[in-house]
Subunit: 313 residues, 2 copies
């Protein structure tokens, strides 16, 4: 039985790699570019070569290595089959089997948002909880469901698609998923800005946001922290949509905690508090009082979670 | 290792009991009244006496009995502790331990809606699926989440509280849970009637429903099947609220199938089809195409599910 492992997070532009102990210590981490040409057919070869290179560099013995965990940006079934990874050019194939064939190392594969949730449970904002929901507020809105310490994959690898819970039935613009009114349309970094602009347009009120040349989620939170009324309204609306969506999640799985991550979560306690406020207004008594935590691992959540995926409980 | 078991469903007015084989054959079933006096302190004693009586009557050997499964109308944690069973007068105590002390038989306890879901998975409308959601449309709206063949209990025993997902933000009346706009307010037997009356009041259109002395969910579905426009509108609204709530559920756990039970489900395919229509309009591509099944076990779902709970996977 080995005592170290690789945690790997394959993204659209780069692959993050980490070497971990079983206890969760990150011994080394590095990145390689994601070669997307030829339908992404070089990606796993590049990753395998990089792993082999690190094994040589560190004079590691393969018997000391538990295996490789990999997070990928798309749906993955329990056995490690990706259904389609549009961002990588991939079709449908078993990533775990291919990586094992390339390296001889046991491999487990998960969806990147799910794996990030597992990472935060292991060594991040969700440490100490075995049943938690992670919501990642970034370019999109990702979600991960951890039950009894394991990722919930779902029958088609689509569990935890919290960003595509419908939260508004009046929205006329389409989400990237083609539906209308998804949480992602209001709570992603771009969604927050779009909604703030709508609020500014509908009002005549003065706001420091009117003078910000390139509006951003950060600018909106900064203005809200200074007491700007329209910025506060934007933040409250964001909290309402997130609070409502998480109230739905809670009624289904009754978790212990929610962990909020992604670039937007740099807003800090103001974000978790406004989500909590609206969550509490929208859940029944038995579901009140959940913990709302900020993610702690940032862009490393994926490598931590991938490592935990192969290490197991 | 035994080969038979007891499946017991404790309700507010009567306790249903069943004797089952491991294969799911119901060998015998009977009922006793639920004695609620003295904070329900006689209930488990009565159940234990009834079980002991059946063991004698059938000349059973306790070594042949796997144990007792019990469904109760309230939240239950993994270890068999009920948090509060208002309908039975119970406070907080470990039902599994007490029943084991009374009978010497291994006991497992689950929430009645969760246990019914397990029963439908085992021998009912959900047979063949390991990941399913059951929704029970009766006096209230109950829900049960089955993942990988097991009941999902949740951290406070409140997983699967689908009836209290908020589906309307305009509702001014309170739900029994004190929130506003819960699914239960629109999709319970009484909720369906209340909403149909609202639709009738708002319209001048002719409808056979105007001549029904005591409106019921059945009368509404019967009229809809005859093409009555306002009845059809009532059914469509019901389908919309259920379809929306189940779209939320799907985005969290990505099940294989939904099983619809309770008295309202006697409406049959018209009900499942209208739910499916609105479900499909409200989920992202990866979550489309789920199965919508009718429950098959009726009031026996609880005893089947309790039996399966003690038998295990």
């Amino acid at each position: 039985m080995g005592s170290i492992c690789f945690g790997i997070d394959i993204g659209g532009t780069s692959v993050k790699l980490g070497l971990f102990t079983q206890e969760g210590e990150l011994l080394d981490n590095w990145e390689i570019p994601t070669r997307k040409e030829d339908k992404g057919s070089f990606i796993l070869q590049d990753v395998a070569a990089s792993v082999e290179g690190k094994i040589k560099e560190k004079s590691l013995n393969k018997e000391d290595i538990v295996g490789i965990g990999i997070g990928v940006p798309g749906p993955v079934t329990e056995d490690g089959t990706v259904v389609q990874c549009v961002n990588l050019g991939w079709g449908t194939f078993n990533v775990a089997n291919e990586m094992k064939a390339l390296t001889g190392l046991e491999t487990k594969v998960g969806n990147d948002a799910n794996v990030a949730a597992l990472g935060e449970m292991w060594q991040g904002g969700g440490k100490g909880y075995k049943n938690l929901i992670m919501v990642t507020l970034g370019t999109g809105v990702g979600g991960g469901v951890i039950l009894d310490g394991n990722i919930l994959t779902g029958s088609n690898g689509a569990a935890g698609e919290i960003g595509h819970i419908t939260v508004s039935y009046d929205e006329t613009e389409s989400c990237n998923c083609t539906k209308h009114g998804c949480l992602e349309q209001f709570a992603s970094a771009t969604g927050i800005v779009k909604e703030a602009k709508r609020i500014l347009e509908k009002s005549e009120e003065a706001s420091v946001l009117r003078n910000v040349p390139a509006l951003s989620a950060k600018a909106i939170f900064d203005a809200a922290k200074e007491g700007d009324a329209l910025a506060l309204r934007s933040v409250d609306q964001l909290g309402r949509y997130l609070g409502i969506a998480l109230s739905h999640v809670s009624a289904v799985v009754d978790p212990q905690a929610f962990v909020i991550g992604g670039g937007v979560s740099k807003a800090g306690d103001m974000l978790t508090e406004v989500i909590r406020k609206h969550y509490e207004q929208n859940v029944m008594l038995a579901l009140k009082g959940k913990e709302f935590k900020l993610a702690l691992l940032g862009n490393d959540a994926g490598i931590y979670g991938s490592a935990k995926l192969i290490l197991g409980k």
